[in-house]
Amino acid sequence: MADVRLAEVSKWFGGVRAVDALSLEVAQGEFLSLLGPSGCGKTTVLRLIAGFLDPTAGEIFIRGRSMARVPPFRRSIGMVFQNYSLFPHLNVYDNVAFGLRIRKIGHRTLHEAVTEALKLVRLEGIEAVERRFPHELSGGQQQRVALARALVIRPEVLLLDEPFGALDKKLREQMQLELKGLQREIGITTIFVTHDQEEALILSDRVAVMRAGRIEHLGPPAEIYERPRTRFAADFIGRSNSFQGRVVRDAGPGALLHTDEGLAIKVPEELPEGPAEVLLRPEQIAISATAPTSGADTVVAGTVADVMYLGTHVKYDVRIGTKLVEVFEQNVGGGPKGRYAPGDRVVLSWRSADLLCPRE
């Protein structure tokens, strides 16, 4: 049964539809990310679930119970805010204990719960951490306190609003791992808002790519990346080369796309005839001096126009006729000798099965 269910939920701000007839089901224990650019409505969805906003239309259910007319403080949610929103006048212990005191939890139980929560977020080791005030903590520690404060009340749903946005890259990666482990450990239904595609892919059981108040594609990370349903989802996540043209079925097997630049490339058979666009991830193209890689069914010759060194891989811009194609090549070592230079003649090859054919 779905733990959180949104049924045709809309939220209008004046004339602007921040959320547009959105339906969504989040299963018990699932980690779901709402991913999209700023202004796509993802934070609004979170705030609707939390109850800080009332939907203009539609209904929200948590564990089957309608949340209409249920104020935020009567919903069983744990929320972690973008800037943590720790109470500056309370120390770590009192911040974590806040929700328990509201619930009039007894002294002993409260102490045990707070200690356990601090342990859960790995804050127990730091000396006298309970008595420190938020401004005396590092960003990562504040993050952990915010998480402990949200979890200690044993909420039915955990809501996270870009919680790692303020952390530097290293710390962010560490916190992501910890959050994932923690979430698995306690099995709490989690809804996570982010604009960082990598973060969404790493953490989530399912990702909802949002745009203009609607969900463009909802699915597991691999599906989102490898079979994006819409052009927007394909574009927003990862990089891709676009080929536009007309699909023509010739006498032989399969179909060909005659691109606007005058190329003819093999496309999956299920593509209907007529105008079409296919996308190809730069890392799924192999680059070589002469012989194409085995398994590839499309081979094109071109000239290297530009080379960009990116550490883990090298990016080539390869000119094929009038078309520039972006290619990533894994940095397999061996130094700069093995690489291509601008002006080199190269051969690009790929599997036509790797082409992305999103329905618009």
Partner: protein, 297 residues
């Protein structure tokens, strides 16, 4: 070789001497009109006034602590000092009661915020004499309030609302309220809305969110506003002088009375020193308190 005038000005400006050039003019004004007068005030408070046989005023330029001894020995002066402090404390309390809800609403207002803010500030920009005059018109024997009370049949004779303690309280509270509201509002405005949401998310109802998060966080503003209002109320002159009508005396009005009415400058100077020390003590305490109540973010 020395370069252009502009270059020389530039190098001169980098030297410390230019600090003096900047502050010397204002310092000379302060020395003449603040430092010297305060020293003279101290000097005069040690003199004595005698009334001659013909009623003329004679100043005895002989140093003694007689004036201060008179103050300490006199229940009259002590009462005035006590009344002044009690009045200031009551006004402070009234300002908290009236000002907190207004400041709270103002800090959360979105529409009309500018107008509401302007309405709170408007009294600031109207002369204190005029505002006190307005209260005299409203509260006087033939004033608006007495007319309303008589017309409604609640009273049969006009109620004395000015020339007494009540009048002073109303008038001074009116002068001080804007100070309280803007000080409080400045602190309340800085309280992040997401903290209230965080509290609600943790199960706090609006009242709990207020009493456990907003109110404690607004304490620095409450303390700062209260001490400001208290310090200003202790020394306020115009309003209590007019609203008291010479019947109720406070420190500031008795200083004026002794100096200008009795032409007893030494006694006035002594009382002025007492008031100055009282005010500075309050402000000193407020500094200490402000530091204690500072929540760093």
């Amino acid at each position: 070789m020395a370069g252009s005038i502009a270059e020389r000005v530039y190098h001169l400006k980098r030297s410390r001497w230019s600090v003096l050039a900047g502050v010397l003019p204002i310092l000379s004004v302060y020395v003449a009109l603040l430092v010297i007068p305060m020293l003279l005030l101290g000097q005069f408070s040690l003199y004595r006034k005698l009334t001659g046989e013909m009623g003329q005023v004679v100043l005895i330029r002989e140093v003694s602590l007689a004036n201060y001894a008179k103050f300490l020995a006199s229940p009259f002066y002590f009462r005035i000092l006590k009344d002044t402090l009690v009045m200031a404390l009551t006004v402070t309390g009234l300002c908290v009661l009236l000002g907190y809800p207004v400041a709270f609403s103002l800090s959360r207002a979105r529409r009309w915020k500018g107008i509401l803010y302007l309405l709170v500030l408007a009294p600031f920009f109207v002369s204190v004499v005029i505002r006190t005059y307005g209260w005299m018109v409203i509260l006087g024997h033939n004033g608006l309030v007495n007319w309303l009370l008589l017309a409604s049949g609640l009273v049969t004779a006009p109620v004395p609302l000015i020339y007494n303690y009540t009048g002073i309280l109303i008038g001074v509270t009116h002068i001080m309220l804007p100070y309280m509201v803007i000080t409080l509002e400045a602190v309340l405005r800085k309280i992040d809305r997401s903290l209230i949401e965080a509290a609600q998310g943790l199960g706090a109802n609006p009242w709990q969110a207020f009493s456990r998060v907003i109110f404690p966080l607004s304490l620095p503003g409450l303390v700062a506003g209260s001490l400001l209002v208290f310090a200003l109320s202790v020394s306020i002159f115009t309003t209590p002088s007019l609203m008291g009508g010479g019947r109720i005396h406070l420190m500031s009005t008795i200083i004026y009375e002794e100096t200008m009415g009795q032409v007893n400058w030494p006694s006035g100077a002594m009382l002025a020193w007492v008031l100055l020390v009282t005010t500075l003590a309050v402000l000193g305490l407020s500094q200490l308190a402000a530091r204690r109540f500072e929540w760093r973010r």
